[in-house]
């Protein structure tokens, strides 16, 4: 039953370009990016119990790295994978500093590190182009020399690339959270001391979780430049870090699908509210208040009744 629904969804997404306009397609891509971004974020919050407010930093690293590569060597695959890799390395390094702290300290640290990356993107002009950012990034063809070469200029084609990456990443994520590693992280979330006293090195596993989250943020980021053909510092700003937080909260922290559903809701809500009022922030704020005060389970768990891990 559940499998069938999933299959249906995938097919639907696969056929989408046939019956929607460019703009809807464009928004769908953005929803997929935010989903990846939020999934990674929720590995930290929902599965490891760490609230990071600096994920945009790693998103930005992925985006800038990918952009740099595409500008140097126009190969989509190279750009995306390269972006992910760099983001992974950076998150590993900053992770070493951050995971020594927990709870609120961790949140503030990640926030500050994120802003550090932001000011770096702003300042290191030779590398990042300053506030004008990197412009004219080509949507390079998807190419494996000697094997195949697909032109990416029409957005439909790129849409499929993003879709494939998303499906793979989501499947991978599912495996991770349902593996011994996933169980271990949940153990740390539930009781740090207990976890330590069954022989788990809490720090190491926090670091692993942090790095994976960074990789997912990096992937989301790396998929952006080919779409927009520009990268600018705001992608690293903390207000961008807040998006996965809101999406996850919206969808449900302790559910697998929460961040994905939340991401979709977040964009749809925003896009709709923005058309009717300039005050969409206040609406968002009220939604956050209501969720925190009343519906901590998030949307998804409402369907499940109790928001258990699924």
């Amino acid at each position: 039953m559940k499998k069938l629904a999933l299959l249906l969804l995938v097919v639907l997404l696969g056929l989408l370009p046939l019956f929607v306009g460019k703009y809807t397609l464009y928004m769908t891509i953005h929803i997929m990016l935010l989903s990846l971004f939020s999934l990674g974020f929720n590995l930290l919050l929902g599965y490891t119990g760490l609230l990071s407010f600096g994920q945009a930093g790693f998103f930005a690293v992925g985006a800038y790295a990918c952009a740099k590569i595409l500008l140097a060597a126009p190969s989509l695959l190279l750009g995306i994978l390269g972006g992910v890799a760099v983001a992974g390395v950076i998150s590993l390094l900053l992770g070493l500093l951050s995971i020594r702290h927990t709870r609120i300290y961790f949140s503030m640290l990640t926030l500050c590190f994120g802003m550090m990356i932001f000011s770096l993107a702003w300042k290191w002009r030779d590398m990042t182009g300053g506030d004008d950012g990197l412009v004219g990034i080509p949507r390079a063809p998807l190419e494996v020399p000697g094997l195949f070469r697909i032109n990416m200029t029409p957005m439909e084609n790129y849409y499929y690339v993003v879709l494939v990456f998303t499906i793979l990443a989501v499947y991978l994520f599912y495996r991770i959270v349902h593996s011994p590693l996933g169980l271990t992280l949940q153990g740390i979330r539930d009781s740090e001391t207990r976890a330590a006293c069954v022989g788990i090195s809490v720090r190491n596993y926090r670091l692993i979780s942090f790095t994976i989250a960074g990789l997912y943020a990096g992937l989301a980021g790396a998929l952006l430049p080919p779409l927009e053909s520009t990268v600018t510092p705001p992608v690293a700003h903390w207000s961008h870090s807040a998006e996965p937080v809101l999406a996850t909260l919206l969808g449900g922290i302790y559910t697998f699908a929460g961040p994905i559903v939340g991401a979709a809701l977040f964009y749809i809500l925003k896009d709709i509210i923005v058309r009717f009022t300039e005050y969409w922030l206040i609406c968002l704020g009220v939604i956050v208040l209501v969720l925190v005060m009343g519906f901590r389970g998030g949307v998804v768990s409402m369907f499940y009744g109790k928001g258990g891990q699924r």
């Binding site: 991770i176 011994p180 590693l181 271990t184 539930d190 976890a195 330590a196």
Partner: protein, 250 residues
């Protein structure tokens, strides 16, 4: 006989207060040892020091011949030291089965496996199920740990503690908050486990009857120091011990 764990004038001080002071403890392999003493005697602090939950201010700790004074808890678990907590400490959001499984996986060093599904961890699953039976939680298997009865939660914690297959296991008031019947049940279980698994148990317990019936050896603490140490009979006969328990029937 060789001590399984041994301390040299161990000390832990909170400001002025000496929680543990100049403690030279010797726990013999295979002897069921109880630590007793009035509230605030430093029993829990001692266990926290031995399990690495706290770091001592003075002194050294040896597990067999290795010094482990400043080891982190998870390393001590790896060489065979395990513990339960006085205040309930389980994984509330996970199912009872997962609680045990996690501990077993950790023992088999399988935690970091990121892709294989839990079911595919045959060895771990079997062992976890075995333990579930040993601690009488089979029927609760798939309930979230936070939903089962308090008594069962204590059993679960015991299960987690032994799931790492320790040589030495500290139990901090394993029967706290239980009614007399449950209490007997749990301590019987502990004894059974000790026999079957060849695990050396060190427990902190208030119920004197249980302590004296169960223990091969008793350590009496008071004001952070070891007051007396010996076989149950010796302790019964000890005047100082009687004094601190204000002639309470022991």
């Amino acid at each position: 006989m060789k001590p399984i764990i041994r301390t040299e004038d161990l000390g832990k001080y909170f400001g002025e207060m000496a929680a543990v002071h100049a403690v030279n403890l010797n726990v013999q392999q295979g002897l069921f040892t109880s630590v007793i003493g009035p509230n605030g005697a430093g029993k829990t602090t001692l266990i926290n020091l031995l399990s690495g939950y706290l770091l001592p201010d003075t002194g050294r700790i040896f597990f067999r011949d290795t010094e482990i004074t400043r080891w982190e808890p998870h390393r001590r678990v790896k060489i065979g030291i395990s513990r339960s907590f006085q205040v309930m400490n389980i994984f509330p959001r996970m199912t009872v089965f997962q609680n045990i499984l996690l501990a077993v996986l950790s023992r088999l060093n399988k935690n970091s496996n990121p892709f294989s599904s839990l079911k595919s961890q045959k060895a771990a699953v079997e062992e976890a199920e075995k333990i579930l039976n040993e601690v009488w939680l089979w029927k609760e298997k798939d309930h979230p740990a936070s939903q089962i009865s308090h008594g069962d939660q204590r059993l679960l914690e015991l299960g987690i503690a032994v799931a790492t297959d320790p040589q030495l296991c500290f139990l901090d008031e394993p029967s706290s908050g239980m009614n007399p019947i449950e209490r007997i049940k749990v301590l019987e279980l502990v004894k059974k486990l000790a026999a079957e698994r060849k695990t050396t148990f060190v427990i902190v317990e208030h119920d004197m009857d249980v302590v004296f019936s169960l223990s091969d050896r008793i350590v009496v603490m008071n004001r952070g120091k070891i007051l007396a140490e010996g076989k149950p009979d010796e302790i019964r006969g000890n005047q100082e011990v009687r004094d601190i328990y204000l002639g309470e029937e022991i």
